[in-house]
Amino acid sequence: MSPEQLTEQLNAALRKPLAGKVPGDRVDQLTRLSGGAVNETWRLKWGDTPLILRRRPFSADSVDNLEGNILGLSLKDEAAVIQLATAAAVPVPEIYAVFDAAHPVGEAFLMDFIPGESIPQRWLTDVNFEAARDRLAFECGQALARIHAIDSSQLPDTVAPTTLEKRFRVAQQRLHTFGDSSPVMQLGLNWLIDHAPKEAPCVLLHGDFRTGNLLIDDNGLAGVLDWELAHQGPAEEDLGYLCAHVWRFGQLDKPVGGFGHYEDLIAGYESIAGWAPALTTVRYWEIFAALSWGLVCQTMGALWHSGNGDVERAAIVRRRSEAELDMLLLMEAWEDS
């Protein structure tokens, strides 16, 4: 759908949900933002108010043959989880409207625009964000503890509890489906199975809580974005994911997202949750996160082959080799320690 067509559809669809909430009567300056491997993100203005539209450009049916939820929740379920996070005092945007795949706009939701920087290269090394970065690991720990405390009985059915064993089985199936093309990813999966931590209670996980999906302003954490990979699992998984090499954007000496240190993240978590996640378990999940990133890269390839996506999606497939390299490094470091 062209931006002009989308503007027209949105003009018709948004008047009712925005009436009395956001002044204005039409969409202006609809612009697609870069990034977002699965869903599109558009910025627009309604009257003078900037808003953000998340939209899935293809039918979920086209990827049904891919087992599991690696592409994430429907946007409707993602919106439901964000609304629960609002109630739990996690910094998230307010949601104004949700559309399902049958709607002329397409599967999408409309939310507030939160000012702040999300693009890692703009805040990860800039001196103007130094004060924000200093407190960010602690704040991320706090935000994660708040997310993990959300009552799981309120969650959509698609965000169900699972077990490590099931996760391993799904990962193995996916490696087979993708042609068993990576001995390193298979070695990594074997290692994760052999070193699995004791089964822990499932909590709501953000699932993609990392540099790039966080909005940062002068005061620190301003917003938590991109909830499409929300699922249930052990708390340490979200912490390890945030520390994965690939999400440090080159700042490898700062293990928490390329900006902070483990002890601050864990202290922030403990300050809200009342217990401290074990560092070894967090580091286990870093290796799991590398495997997951490799699988996401392969999924992008499968999606591209099914006719969905542009050159960016085709190119992401090659980033699997980063995940493989990290798995080898991290398994070696684990054995050496």
């Binding site: 087979h176 042609g179 298979q186 070695l187 090499h245 490898l252 050159v311 080799s321």
Partner: protein, 136 residues
């Protein structure tokens, strides 16, 4: 087909040179002329050409490394077999014990694969230092 003329002035253009020419067009003409998503994708496209360029020069080493690995760990593999796939399946079935030799092969292989796909990935410098030092 074009040929060099008697004066030795090259008239032929190799596939690597063609890639370079397209890359220059993308970075010097297309990127400045485009905006938004198209500009972003033009940059991605130029990077993709870099991958192809590097793959052309590194693939031979990768092939040699995999062939050697096949002799050691897949003695029954027929010529032309998909070696990474055969190794993955042997690992999945736990028929292949990942000993130090095998891990060293995977590390050497991964340095080559990342040299093709993303030579500037930050972990790569660390891996290269660690793994190359051990070899010597």
């Amino acid at each position: 087909m074009t040929q060099d003329n008697d004066n030795g002035t090259p008239t032929d253009v190799s596939s690597l040179e063609l890639l370079g020419a397209v890359k220059s067009f993308l970075m010097e003409s297309a990127v400045p002329a485009l905006s938004g998503r198209d500009q972003f994708n033009a940059r991605v496209a130029a990077n993709v050409l870099g991958i192809i360029e590097r793959e052309q020069s590194i693939n031979e080493d990768l092939f040699a490394l995999d062939s050697k690995a096949a002799q050691q760990w897949l003695p029954d593999a027929e010529p032309g077999a998909n070696i990474p796939q055969r190794l993955s399946r042997a690992l999945a079935q736990r028929q292949l014990e990942p000993d130090t030799d095998f891990l060293d092969y995977l590390k050497a292989r991964q340095l080559l694969v990342t040299a093709i796909n993303n030579p500037r990935y930050a972990s790569r410098a660390i891996a290269e230092k660690k793994w190359r030092t051990r070899d010597t």
